[in-house]
Symmetry: C2
Subunit: 337 residues, 2 copies
DNA sequence: CCGATATATGACACCGCTTGACATATCGAG
DNA sequence: CTCGATATGTCAAGCGGTGTCATATATCGG
């Protein structure tokens, strides 16, 4: 029955010219309320869906944007996708979520391919693609608008939304210090992510301000995943003079530390305080629930989408973080004078 | 400089007809090795990317498929997306991940819109959209091929991939019984998901076979999320004659039970065994790590994609599950004669 | 060596929509 | 009554591919 109706069918049914239907479709001025209504009625009656392909081809906007990511944290990506998604839906824009591999030398090509093949109107970059040079260059060459979520470099060059990772880490460290901790272990994030450095920086700054010396021996590498948390936890708890608190730069790694503590019968927070970062669902799911930094991921994504779709000038928006106190932190057992 | 090259540019550069380039693009027979090489060389030189829009418009396949989902478990969706992704990438197919809301009365329309606008060649449905009537009807009316991942109903009507939820739940229950448990609490899954019923069924079947009576008082409602696990855990641990083991129908809820146990100082697995289902990363992340059923999510997704792209006849594929033993299960403290 | 068949390539219309150049028509303001 | 703003239509071109049909050459059995 219902072969998909095209613009001509609609025009015929509404008794107007094809051009007029096109005008209605594109919100052109100089269309009377009356005809507009008639055309819209016809569209509805025919269940008319303008072919995106045809519109794109004839040079119009595609009403599609892409979210490019390469992040292996399910929680993080879920939040980001959802944030973008909600705003897009509300605006009638289609979202293409595209994973890439930032370590692949051909990423630039892949992105170029994505843009030229699908004709997306704009792009949202999430960390760590935000700082992937080949991608950035490709996008600039293509002259397509894009917004970065939590970029680490060249902050000013393109629109971006972000939170203050350094300040957040500073806040958390200060919180620990205020609780009485003096030896605070720190597990770094994935080296690909610029935020990792910022968090370490915040940790050091808080230490400095409090007059505590920075001990490289209390820092360990991590990759933002559970296993590196386990490694870090083991390393720190094996230390002869072990820390009374561990600040892991994300929740997954904090969970790893928790597992190590449980495994060794080290009570948290009684004998060891543990904190995370991000406030993913994981933070509430583990035991004890994690004191962590709430990173407004969905909000960041939503805001990025808004900026992209608004399409105005260079915009930078910083969203606030929050320190969430839960049960994984307590004053150290015996205060060392 | 580089305005995007089109097929004509390529043709000119290779010294052949446009049609010939098209043939090369689509792997048509009857193109000599020689011309093919020449054309490909030209494409490379010009960095040619065929416009999806144009191909769609001219009636060809779009080389795009959509994954439709409405699942709020980040980990599950991450795995599913990744599974689809990998195969698509390998096949040069673009994947559009599209969330929907199965409770929205207009889902059918949304899906219809998606298909007619993007001209996707096929669709993958993940639970619970697999059993969403409006969507199913819309897809059938559109006469577009689709594959369902873990459908609960009308199994035979469309291609599908799935695991044996009932058997898996049976296995898990039997495992607990073999460990000596006689009173096993069960937390149901989200009522929207057909798998929830299957898992309950498997639990009952194992009980029956072991000659244990089914006690409705040991069953509680759940929604596949942490909070309902907490509710279920509280309910079960408040019981005068409380169970020695709790089988939660997914890992998130099992984590909830664990939290309740920790909170009450109930040792797991010493005083209470807890098991999950799915084997998400969460299962390894909580303490103690969960004994659970490994559901091959990425594999299911990958297989579904394979079937869809192969585009052959009705296919059904069951993938095996595995019972993963970790530390959350032990024999009950004192055996009741 | 011939017509038949397989292989290889080209010409051209067309997919559904937008757009620009014009042509008209109506209408209220000056 | 004329003018500019508003409203609508006609027509042709074009976006970047693909399908159909025609054509040209190579190959092959008899």
């Amino acid at each position: 029955m219902s072969e998909r109706a095209n613009i001509r069918d609609v025009a015929a049914r509404a008794g107007v010219a094809v051009k007029t239907v096109s005008r209605v479709l594109n919100d052109h001025p100089y269309v009377s309320k009356d005809t507009k209504a008639r055309v819209e009625e016809a569209m509805r009656a025919l269940d008319f869906r303008p072919s995106v392909a045809a519109r794109i081809l004839s040079g119009a906007k595609s009403n599609q944007i892409a979210l490019i990511y390469d992040n292996h944290s399910p929680y993080y990506m879920f939040q980001i996708q959802t944030g973008c998604w909600e705003y897009c839906k509300q605006q009638g824009i289609r979202l293409l979520a595209q994973p890439v591999d930032v370590t692949d030398p051909r990423v630039g090509d892949q992105v170029r391919g994505l843009v030229t093949e699908t004709h997306v109107d704009g792009i949202i970059l999430s960390s760590p693609v935000t700082d992937c040079d080949p991608v950035l260059r490709a996008l600039e060459a293509l002259d397509i608008p894009f917004v970065r979520i939590s970029p680490g470099t060249n902050h000013a060059l393109t629109s971006s939304v972000f939170m203050d990772d350094a300040q957040a880490a500073d806040d958390m460290t200060t919180h620990l210090i205020n609780m009485g901790h003096r030896r605070i272990g720190f597990i770094k994030g994935h080296p690909n992510h610029m935020a990792s450095d910022d968090r370490l920086f915040g940790y050091r700054r808080a230490l400095d301000r409090a007059g505590l010396s920075f001990e490289p021996g209390l820092i360990c590498d991590g990759e933002f995943d559970f296993d590196s948390g386990v490694r870090g936890g083991n390393y720190l708890l094996d230390l002869p003079d072990r820390p009374t608190a561990v600040f892991a730069s994300n929740d997954d790694m904090a969970a790893g530390v928790l597992a190590v503590a449980h495994d060794r019968g080290v009570n948290v927070p009684g004998e060891l305080s543990v904190t995370g970062f991000d406030d993913t669902t994981l933070a509430r799911t583990v035991w004890p629930p994690l004191t962590t930094i709430h990173q407004p991921m969905a909000e960041l994504a939503r805001t990025a989408t808004e900026i992209l779709i608004a399409g105005g000038d260079l915009t930078h928006r910083r969203l606030p973080h929050t320190l969430i106190e839960r049960a994984s932190v307590a004053p150290p057992a015996r205060n060392i004078a």
